[in-house]
Amino acid sequence: MIFLSTELEAQSSAPGMVSSLKKMIAISNSYFEKMKGVNKTFSNKEIAEADEYDLPAPYINSLILYTEAPHKALMLNNKCRVYNLMINDLLLTPTGYIERVPIRLKKGDEITEGLISRPQFLNAIVFKECPELKTLSDLFSINNLKKTLSNERFSKPSTKEVCLDRHQNYIKNEKTAFFCGLIARVEKESNLKESKIKTPRTDFRTLENINTQLKIIKGVKQNLTNRVYDYYKNLCDHLDNPEKFCEITASTNIFKEISESKIDASPIYSICQSLYQGNLDKQKIKNCALELSAKNEICHYGANQFPGLFPKANCNELSMALSRSRIQNYYSECPGLVGSELAVNGARLYHLLTKTIPPKPNLCFLNTTAGFTEFLTKVNFMEGWNNSYCFIDPISQQESCINSLTGNYDASPYSQEKSLSRALSRTRGVADNTKCKMVSLEEYDPTRLGFGDGCIIVYNSDNCFGTTCQQRIFINKKEVTHLKKNEGVRLEYFANSSTRTKYSMESMLRSYFKKKTKKIMNSSQLKSFFKEQKKGIVHGLGCAEKLLPHFFRQNTIHQCTITPFIIGGVIEKKGIYSLVVHTSMDELGAPRIIDWSQVYQAIRSYQNIHIRNAWGLYGLY
């Protein structure tokens, strides 16, 4: 008869508050040290014939001590729940995973202590005492895993309260340990692969064991999508921290959702186009989304083809911002090449309110300028667009101007070649359907074939923007000098003086789309607006020096670079607010998360120098 634990039992009979942690560890280590010398094992028959059995107290204490904190939350002072963790390899001892279990058998007056193997313990004791665990083990076996997972429903909790409630249910649910077991198994993969490399090729037994485990992991991975894996990884890591679980659940990784085709890929299109040169097919987008979800810094640099404020936010921030933003119709654009932040924001709001995604043009800024001029045409205020070719009309002998875009855009009546040929037909008798080829200064070579006859617009690619472009025009090699080019935008975002109130960007948007407006003065009003107006849009004006202080430096006391922006959403923590801000200098798909007080200072600084002290934050609804 072996009474291994008698002495130790006395020492560890009052764990927790009474025993210090150090003492518990010492007892536990001492117990496991002594266990090494135990040779007694039990057969299934001996177990079946025993009157009673139990697990030694120091052993149970050591399980509590060494099992990872999140998994301990599933024990719930219930024997079957502890066994559940053992089934899923989530219980740990000072020597690691459980392979053999110490047990005390009582038959008549005799008590015997010895060891049984883990499978023996499960079949002879656990599944008999807790039959529901046997059913669950079968459900989560590799053969049934696919079917079991397909019956599970995964949805993002709608509110924090729902999430906390759900977390509580997970703790009570016996399936949770099985999901955590799957996650823990997958996490062992890299260690196993490493062990495989280090194991001598002659050690067949170890290699076979590793290969079997890797095969099981492969099977598990095949049945776990990234989304399900991430969801349960978060849960299993935070079983003891519901707040953290809900915080991470709320911050969905939008890139993973895109990679699994759960949501539209348009927000990442331009970043991916910079990373993966050439056309993007479905697979490239998927690969790109996976890359963005794995490499936090990669999002900073997707900018070459779509210049905007650089560097952009990191992938974590970008993912959070995109997942919280109301903007849905993302399209490729290049705010840094437009030359008017007002036109960028105006075009965005126009596309947003008409729910349109403009087609990809040959020059990236045309999405903005063509959309902006389309809106100005609809509200009958093209005088807000100053870009035009002007000439002295041969008949009236007065100056006449024809509005024009920079660049050719077939869908627009202001496409540069159309406007230019109209101006030339009225002044030089050139056919009004003349096509004008646009070539950069670097490409232009008048001695080469193709650059001789016809109309050619030669532009300086280093100084060519959507609203202003350094360029020269040649007709049959002869430079056109009689046309005067006006440039820029002439429109106020919010009304400046009473006489022009009707023709501000904000008032025209409001009147054309028959919207109401609400002044937003503080963060509570902003939060209420988003809550009450599910389709409302918040937009405003502020100083870049306060809105983006890492990028813009203030050199004089009232320097203020006017920056229009759209607020896509609000993020709240402990009553403090950060906002998802789509500034007109950032690409539409690259919003930033900016502190409310920073946004407020930006608006307040602008108001301070505004002629009429106009406030710059409004909700359109």
């Binding site: 935008v489 004089t556 006017i562 600084s605």
Partner: protein, 352 residues
Amino acid sequence: MLGGFMAYIKFLIVLFSTCAFASLPKMLTKIPLASIRFISNDGKITLYQKSSGALALATNYNTDDILKLKEYTQFNANSIIGSDYITIEADQNYNSHNDALKNKDLYLIKRKELKPVKVGSGKDLVLHLKGSFYSFFDARGKSIKVATTKERKILDEIRISSKLNPYFSPETLMIDANTFIYTDINEKNLSGVLYYNRSNKIIKPLFKSAEDGTRLEICLYKNNLIIGEFSYNGINRGSNIYKMKATGNIMKNSIDRIYSSESTDIGHLTCSENQVYFIKDFGSNGPINNRISELISLDINTKKFRQLSNLKKVFQVVQMDGRVLIPVSENLYVVEGSNNFKNDQLEKENQK
């Protein structure tokens, strides 16, 4: 584990650095502060703008328009200690043409004459070497132009290479009449401080960031070139400040790190006659990017820093003719120099 250790180190740094801020005085003015564009250090010259598009000079009980442009023109003005000149930037389409890269009309006025002279079109007009030189940035043409205030003729034009960020503006300074220093970003997104020799027109790199995603700032403090290396928000490269002697052959001078931190400081390195300042990040309590930032002064010899403000949200620091000011919403807090308050009680009584 490392993160926790570093947080502890940060805590110690904050604990052992001097923390002796008092509430900063606000700038006081007789004319509404929002209209004022410049007040000289001695308080004798106050320039303010009118909605009519005029920049006016306020003297005792009198005002004179010194520059009249289009209605609603937005003016900015500044100067440096020891300079006879004041710089003016005028944006005649400020409200109707929002363009961050727009070139403005640039003027210089002599303090004694107060007659504006147009000197070019661009932005970031800066005086160098006590006002004997000036430079400005042509944001569209991507070049820095350098001239003397005496001749007002462009003598040097330096092309910058930054293409990745269209909104980039270089920082500039002059050590002597031959040595022009400026910042730039290359095609690999690495920032550099470049040395331009005016006599032979040769450009050489003086300092280069080891990692991408940082921005460099420069200023001159008591014959030392101070270089600040700060990260953009969300890029965790930390912050560093270096000093090097700005005398002799600067290319051969050694560089010494005088400040290093893991935090993403806003920076805006500023050298006055008496101090080196920058804006330091003090962490967050709220949601993402909700940061506390305060103005700091740094002793370049002892490497100790001192918190000067307790405003929680300091984003900018401005020098105006020797004063060092923090603009927060509609207020200007005075860090160095007088707050312009003059007790005119006696004057009023005499008038009675």
